[in-house]
Amino acid sequence: MLDRTVEKLISDHSFVNYCLSKNEEDSAYWNQWLAQHPEQIDVAEEARRMVLLLVDRPTEEEFQMERARLLNHIMGRGKTVKPRVRRLWKPAVAAATLLFMGVISYQVWMHRQDSHLVTSSNIEWVAQHVPDKKMMHVALADGTLVKLFPGSNFSYPETFLDSVREVRLDGGGFFEVQHDEDIPFVIHTAELSVRVLGTSFNLQAYDTDNQTKVALFHGKVLIAHNGQEKYLSPGQAYVWDKNTQSGQIESFDVAQERQVSDGLLVFDHAGYDEVARQITRKYGVKWKTDVPVKIQFSGTIDQESLQDVLNHLTYTTDYRFTLQQNTVHVQQN
């Protein structure tokens, strides 16, 4: 019998199953194998330990979500909630749902700092990444509330300066900015900056998207863009198109825009790239296609299942959208 190396064993699916006691068949096989090859016990033991070391790690997403959840809890301003201590663990209670249980206060430090906006040396910047499929609430030091959309990166200072409240967003969010006439609130995005005076609005400014959009619900905002400044009034949206390098102020559907902050996706003659990007953020899927996909999709996606969404795309375009193992395959009809 040829020697097995540690790497070979770890690469062997059935061996990993054995280490994790996944099924009887693999366990039986490897127990027998070890009985027959006592000289391999050390190698197998090393491989087994390495498998456990690799498997028993939190994923990056798990770590981030848990970290945010803890911070959410301990930074909860004024309100101390006892952690849920239960005698009987019920796996049905997903840990993630806790995160959204109407918790208002929310503050997060990240080890990976985004510091290019630091204007005072003593202030710590906090960077928060929102995984696909998730929304996150953040409460800033001044009481401003931000609901971040999936796939966003948001950085903000632990405390604000006396002169200006600055944050940075690559992504989307619903902002309810604490009113303070003397200290403007400024959101920097890749394309433009939004200057705010106590107001609420949606901002969609993913670095990878063609479109940057500010939709104002209440109050007033000033948009600084390419050296120009534009005021928005409630009900108005500023939309910038990176491709055509043109921006315009338009009116928007307030009720629909409100739903955007609850996860509604809105498409208006959207091309394939945009559709794929947005669906990826919301549903966390990958895409695969061998043909150039030319679609123009208009419509909304709310709480539908991914399968319904793909069916809808299939019915309304010349392509077939099928889901296999978390990847959407697009084929021409």
Binding site: V6, E7, K8, I10, S11, H13, L20, D42, E45, E46, R49, M50, V51, L52, L53, L54, V55, D56, R57, P58, T59, E60, E62, F63, E66, R67, R69, L70, L71, H73, I74, M75, T80, P83, R84, V85, R86, R87, L88, W89, P91, A94, A95, W109, H111, E124, K286, K288, Q324, Q325, N326, T327
Partner: protein
């Protein structure tokens, strides 16, 4: 670590987070050896750190390294949360008495060290290798699933993972480093 601990007692949140970032993964690993249930372990860790923060003023200004304290604390929380048959609880609770405190302390140091080395080994991998390792092991996906996810052949996925493991193994030199209480 000791300074971090003293700062936490004083209420320094940055130190608290530093501790969290350093020790979360080793604790997670340890929790999984007690009970292989990710959600349970995450919940227990959440409780551990909430309690730690809430009781910070009353924490012992320990003479020994505080890490040790956290591992035992986590174990107690896990036991508190699950219905482990009585005999097993006995085992778990008595186990520390069998190993000397010093042995356990060394064990914990080693697990910390191993995860640090694993992290360094992972950092050295190519992006693709890291992605595949993450899918294969952290998310326990099959080769077929990974091939599907990444539009690659199963053979390629296997080779990439094999090469990655080979590379990592040299960095980790694991065999010597593992210890009684963690190799249940």
């Amino acid at each position: 670590m000791k300074d971090t601990w003293l700062n936490i007692i004083k209420g320094d949140r940055a130190s608290f987070l530093k501790l969290y970032d350093t020790i979360y993964t080793p604790l997670f690993h340890y929790g999984m050896t007690i009970r292989r249930d990710r959600e349970l372990v995450k919940e227990s860790l959440h409780i551990l750190f909430c309690e730690l923060w809430e009781r910070r003023e009353r924490l012992p200004q320990t003479k020994v390294d505080p890490k040790f304290y956290l591992f035992t604390w986590l174990k107690r929380i896990i036991i508190r949360q699950v219905e482990i048959p009585h005999s097993q609880i006995e085992d778990l609770l008595h186990e520390p008495a069998e190993d000397s405190i010093e042995e356990q302390r060394i064990a914990i140091e080693q697990v910390m060290d191993m995860h640090e080395r694993l992290q360094r080994a992972l950092d050295k991998l190519t992006k693709k290798q890291r992605r595949y390792i993450q899918w294969r092991f952290f998310e326990e996906r099959s080769y077929e699933e990974i091939a599907e996810l990444d539009n690659a052949s199963v053979r390629t996925v296997y080779n990439v993972i094999y090469e990655a493991l080979k590379r990592m193994r040299g960095d980790i030199a694991i065999l010597q480093a593992i210890i009684l209480i963690f190799s249940k």
